[in-house]
């Protein structure tokens, strides 16, 4: 973005902030009004990306501390700084360390190759294999890293397929889509999940690692299967059999075994939280303790973890906190007349809004903006909050929607129309599946 546009958006956000701060809004107290001002500023900065997203997060924290905290019943600015080191941030940090360990010792490739060796030669099976492995990896590591790895594995195969065979496009498209969908399944899969968990926790609803997987994994699996069928229909393979070579199985040394064991113990710790009562965020410290103490990862690795993501999430969580404690959420619900709307209409509206937004701005920013708004209704529907988090991962339409899409597009083998046509159907399917789970299945099973 050119400097002129940056200055324009920063000025616009500052003007909007000042305007709302000083404008008398009937029925709205000062804390809520100032929070609304910060919210609008965040909206402009996150949508325009005039300054880096994580810097916008720091601006949000600063403005909330200065302008909102003093008008709260218990005036303490620290409530807006605490989210930057909240349990979900720690959980994510643990996930980053785990992913760095897997990547540094090539275990992500080992895992991918081990599974892909079993899929055989049929194009449909190979497609399923790539989708399954990508989704599995993106559950535990960043969607971007999972996509980069799997495209590197798939490229030789893709290049070996006849140029006129639609399978080339199908195979390339299935990877970013699976990474986006796979991220939905675990709390550490993608930041929107953590934002939803933190918002629900603040509202007194505790969702641990296993519970999130119980809620989101079935929806993810259904979406993956439907996306697989769709890609097979749209890009029907012409070849009957494909063969591809993978790197020889790497012999694991003691360091690799330590990383693998740590992964297993950590995941087991997350899944069994109900029995041992150690919070997920504390379990997440284990990989960092082991990898850095034993010298498996170094300071350089620590410094290059996704701190920008954590800061961005922290800003989102702080904003969510402010919306709740200032009463802005309740004000929006009552003053915009949304109280009388049927829950189904609200659910559909919020999910549609999220899917549209997430295709144009960062999925973390989308969740950070929309989740706090849904909290006004949270008493009636916690599934709405989870639904919004899942919908934030439906960034399927454009190369710029999310880095996994951009990576696939960067191969030069895809055209925007391929991604858009397929992505819009996947996004519509995702909306349908999220609505089905959010309105029917989760409430009936009583799991949220």
């Amino acid at each position: 973005m050119k400097l002129g546009w940056r200055i324009f958006f920063v000025t616009l956000s500052a003007a909007a902030f000042a305007g709302i701060c000083f404008a008398p809004i009937p029925g709205m107290d000062t804390a809520a009004r100032h929070t609304l001002a910060v919210f609008v500023l965040a909206l402009i900065l996150w949508v325009s990306e005039a300054i880096p997203l994580y810097i916008a997060s720091l601006v949000i924290a600063a403005l909330l501390s200065i302008f909102v905290a003093q008008h709260l019943p218990v005036a303490d600015y620290k409530i807006f700084l605490a989210p930057f080191f909240s349990p979900v941030i720690l959980l994510f940090l643990g996930g980053f360390v785990l992913a760095r360990g897997l990547e540094s010792y090539g275990l992500d490739s080992v895992l991918a190759s081990a599974i892909l060796r079993k899929v055989g030669k049929k194009p449909a099976a190979i497609l399923a294999g790539f989708m399954g492995v990508t989704a599995l990896l993106s559950m535990w590591m960043s969607n971007t890293a999972a996509t980069a790895l799997m495209i590197a594995v798939a490229l030789p195969l893709i290049r070996s397929i006849d140029e006129k065979d639609p399978m080339r496009i199908g195979l390339l498209l299935c990877i970013p889509f699976s990474a986006n969908l796979g991220g939905m399944a675990t709390p550490i899969g993608t930041p929107p999940n953590a934002i939803a968990i933190a918002a629900l926790r603040d509202a007194g609803v505790q969702i641990n690692f296993l519970e999130w997987m119980g809620i989101a994994l079935p929806a993810t699996l259904i979406l993956l299967v439907l996306a697989w069928i769709l890609i097979l229909i749209l890009f029907r393979p012409k070849t009957k059999a494909l063969s591809f070579s993978l790197h020889k199985a790497k012999k694991l040394g003691w360091k690799e075994w330590v990383v693998l064991t740590t992964l297993l113990v950590t995941v087991l710790g997350w899944l069994t939280g109900r029995f041992h009562r150690i919070p997920d965020a504390i379990v997440a410290l284990l990989p960092a303790l082991i990898f850095f103490s034993l010298g498996l990862l170094r300071r350089k690795d620590f410094r290059s973890l996704g701190w920008d993501v954590l800061i961005l999430m922290g800003g989102g969580l702080a904003l969510g906190k402010a919306v709740a404690v200032s009463g802005l959420d309740k004000w929006l619900v009552t003053s915009l007349g949304m109280e009388g709307l049927p829950p189904v209409a609200l659910f559909v509206g919020f999910i549609l809004l999220t899917v549209v937004l997430t295709n144009f701005i960062s999925n973390t920013s989308s969740a950070a903006l929309i989740v706090p708004l849904t909290m006004g209704f949270a008493g009636g529907s916690n599934s709405l909050v989870v639904g919004v988090a899942l919908a934030a991962s439906a960034s399927m339409l454009l190369p710029v929607s999310t880095p996994p899409n951009a990576i696939a597009f960067g191969s030069g083998l895809l055209k925007v129309k391929h991604m858009f046509r397929t992505g819009i159907i996947v996004a519509v399917i995702a909306i349908g599946v999220i609505l089905m789970f959010g309105l029917v299945i989760w409430p009936r099973l009583g799991i949220i």
Binding site: M1, E49, L53, Y54, F96, A99, R100, E103, D108, S142, N143, T144, A145, T147, A148, L149, I151, A152, L155, T190, R298, K300, S304, L305, G306, D308, V309, L312, F360, I361, S362, N363, T364, S365, S395, P399, V400, S401, T402, P403, N405, A406, I407, F409, G410, S411, G412
Partner: protein, 113 residues
């Protein structure tokens, strides 16, 4: 001047024939030692922020795996999208630019002023 291009010259024999020796060491940034092909003298050392090969897309995949682009932001995605094209364009621009006779240190000083 927005950018300048200089062909490395050996300080000893003035030859323009040089070799790049790429040094990769765990825990350190990649360093390139430039040696004169004629007399073997040390010409320069570069410390790399990121290495990109003649296959920029493969370089991008390696960079992305290390979490080099972790935020799902539009600007980041656009950057990824234009990665190969940018390198191609810059390479063409660099090879077509007139070469300067200034020392690299002088160019750096001038451009940073």
């Amino acid at each position: 001047m927005s950018f300048a291009v200089k062909i490395e010259t050996c300080p000893q024999c003035r030859s323009r024939k040089t070799e790049n020796l790429v040094r990769v060491e765990p825990g350190c940034p990649v360093r390139v030692y430039v040696r004169c092909s004629e007399c073997g003298a040390f010409v320069a050392r570069y410390t790399l922020e990121r290495y990109t090969s003649d296959k920029p897309y493969e370089s991008l995949l390696k960079f992305s795996r290390r979490g080099g682009c972790s935020i799902a932001s539009r600007s980041h995605a656009q950057e990824l999208e234009g990665f190969s094209k940018k390198i191609e364009t810059e390479f063409k621009e660099t090879t077509e630019a007139p070469f300067t006779e200034l020392k690299v240190e002088e160019i750096i000083c001038e451009l940073k002023r």
